[in-house]
Symmetry: C2
Subunit: 372 residues, 2 copies
């Protein structure tokens, strides 16, 4: 098996699909070679020589890399010319974002590439080791809490000093998936008083297990498939906003992490709700790139509205490139092991396979991109 590691080129992307330590483990397998595009590890301070020491060969050109790969490991969908350079039957493996990346998926189909989108991995226990959404959400959640602490003009922890007592900051986390739970844990570590909310009432115990208060809005639960929240009605959203508003208003920091895969993120914090926050408060929106949980967030920007800072996340896992890549590389390595095992009917492989043999083999993607 010839594995290729692409140097990522999208603006803001600082991860690599396989860091040197993961390459080293892969090279130890029989009949396996790893080729890495020069500079692929630059944002994690991994040099070409580090990759060579791990057993990889280095090439300059992405097309040359692709043309010699049985499996091309990426973070983001590569450029169309790179997909076109892959041999027919080769596998492309990464966070391919298939519903939004129609051109890349069509190119994979047309060139006979077998594309695996890690977002589509079924959420079963055995798939945890290949669950890149979760590993990257862990990074994003940690980062979100740090950003909140950094933007707030107050302390997070309680202090009792000779100059008086400082009360702890109040942090509200909306969405209690992996990112939200990690934001809760990190804000708690820093000493804040933390509350968490999720439309899935099943999340309450997880929020409480981290020492946070679960915000109970007394709305009907919104449990969707695979442990994600389902899409919400306009009526539900209006009642939800009204019920959330007082909790948002009394918070020093609101961290929003609510995402529904393949869809626009739900609006949770309206412009009116931001206007009701105290000046100096902070909103950290991890969903800014998928439409935003906060009406005022813009990806990659920090706006100030009436004294309230609104931070819109962009490429948040890339802000911790060393460890985001380490976790992602472990996901990719585990996926490669499944490919090597060769059971193409394996639930994880079958569930995440988008294209194969010139066709869309994933029904939902086919319906979205090439209906009829």
């Amino acid at each position: 098996m010839r594995i290729g590691v692409l140097s990522e080129t999208r603006p803001g992307e600082r991860r690599v699909a396989l860091p040197p330590e993961a390459v080293s483990a892969l090279c130890a397998a029989p009949d396996t070679t790893v080729t890495v595009q020069s500079g692929a590890g630059r944002h994690l301070y991994a040099t070409d020589d580090d990759y060579r020491a791990a057993g990889a060969e280095i090439v300059d050109s992405a097309q040359q890399l692709a043309s010699g790969s049985d499996v091309l490991a990426v973070v983001n969908p590569p450029e169309l010319t790179v997909i076109a350079a892959l041999p027919a039957g080769a596998s492309l493996l990464g966070l391919l974002n298939p519903f939004q990346e129609a051109q890349a998926m069509l190119a994979a189909r047309d060139h006979g590439v077998t594309a695996y989108a890690l977002e589509l991995v079924p959420r079963i226990s055995r798939a945890q080791s290949v669950d890149a959404l979760s590993s990257q959400a862990l990074v994003a959640g940690y980062r979100a809490a740090l950003v909140g602490a950094q933007l707030l003009p107050r302390f997070f922890p309680l202090f009792m000093t000779a100059a008086g007592t400082i009360p702890p900051a109040r942090v509200l986390v909306l969405g209690a998936g992996v990112a939200g739970l990690q934001a809760i844990a990190t804000a708690r570590r820093l000493g804040a008083v933390v509350s968490g909310y999720d439309v899935r009432s099943a999340a309450a115990d997880e929020v409480r297990s981290l020492g946070a208060t679960f915000v109970e809005l007394h709305l009907e639960t919104q449990e969707g498939a695979g442990g994600y929240a389902k899409s919400q009605s306009a009526d539900f959203a209006a009642r939800q906003h009204a019920a959330l508003a007082p909790y948002v208003a009394e918070s020093d920091v609101v961290i929003t992490t609510a995402a529904i895969p393949g869809r626009t993120a739900p609006l949770l914090v309206t412009e009116e709700m931001v206007a009701a926050m105290r000046p100096g408060s902070v909103v950290v929106d991890l969903a800014a790139q998928s439409g935003g949980n906060c009406a005022l967030s813009k990806p990659g920007e920090t706006g100030v509205f009436n004294g309230v800072s609104v931070w819109g996340g962009a490429d948040v896992p890339s802000q911790l490139p060393v460890h985001a890549s380490k976790l992602y590389g472990a996901n990719i390595s585990a996926f490669v092991a499944l490919l090597r095992a060769g059971d193409m009917q394996d639930e994880i492989l079958a569930g995440s396979r988008v294209t194969e043999g010139g066709r869309f083999v994933h029904e939902a993607v086919r319906n979205a991109l090439a209906p009829g």
Copy 2:
């Protein structure tokens, strides 16, 4: 007593000497009025109306404010025209930095102002409530740990995930005064493995009480007056650098907090020591404005040297303006209470008094600024 609160004008300064809640308490005392310069609380989102609600009168001009004040409360030394506007016999109270701010001190002397420099308050138990160096160092130390976490491309905490184990970051804190101890505590909260070093071996127990390892270099202790370190010889520094180098090289984050009041900060991290750190590591230098504990730090800038980020602190307490001002305001309020009590021989008042009745009354300042 007529108390004036100046709007601070130095670049980077975001604190105010007395926030509204402190003004409210002062106004409750008999025969006390508080006048505040318009906009003084802008960086902590305290409006002129907030000050009015606390009982203060608002004036626009700094000179007008000064001319009607018995006590002028400031963070930094005011402009010379403001000092000149103070009535003879009025008190000027703040972090006046007397050894570096010769012009302001000479102006205070020449206009018959009684200047109190909070840096000169004797370090006795009773003085804790007026110890602004300590209250502001608490803010700076917390902030330094956050900055380290923010600049590091890795996690601080240990994680054991389905995608493998992330080891905790290694943080080394040099200087274990109030700022250093708070940096240690905050880095520990975030889950890092922390070590602390101080030339005063008396600091070892405090470092260990926070769950950090004390770095023992087996050099002679350097205990100076008032709990501060004393100035060091070149020979001591060379041996110290050699002994510290391996600890610095193995750290992910080095936070330096070593300051000797009124003197240039000791050099602790040389250019060679930075060069020996792993790319992606971080140096946070809280002493950058007083000469720097790290040879490469520049105040207010983040430089990258061979992949190592070096952050030079500038106006660090101002990065948490709400709580820095709250603590500082409590210090000022406690000092005003001593002035009101009227015992001019009080050890705290006498120790911090720089000028009075047209003369320098603080011996060390007089020797430095107006010898002979």
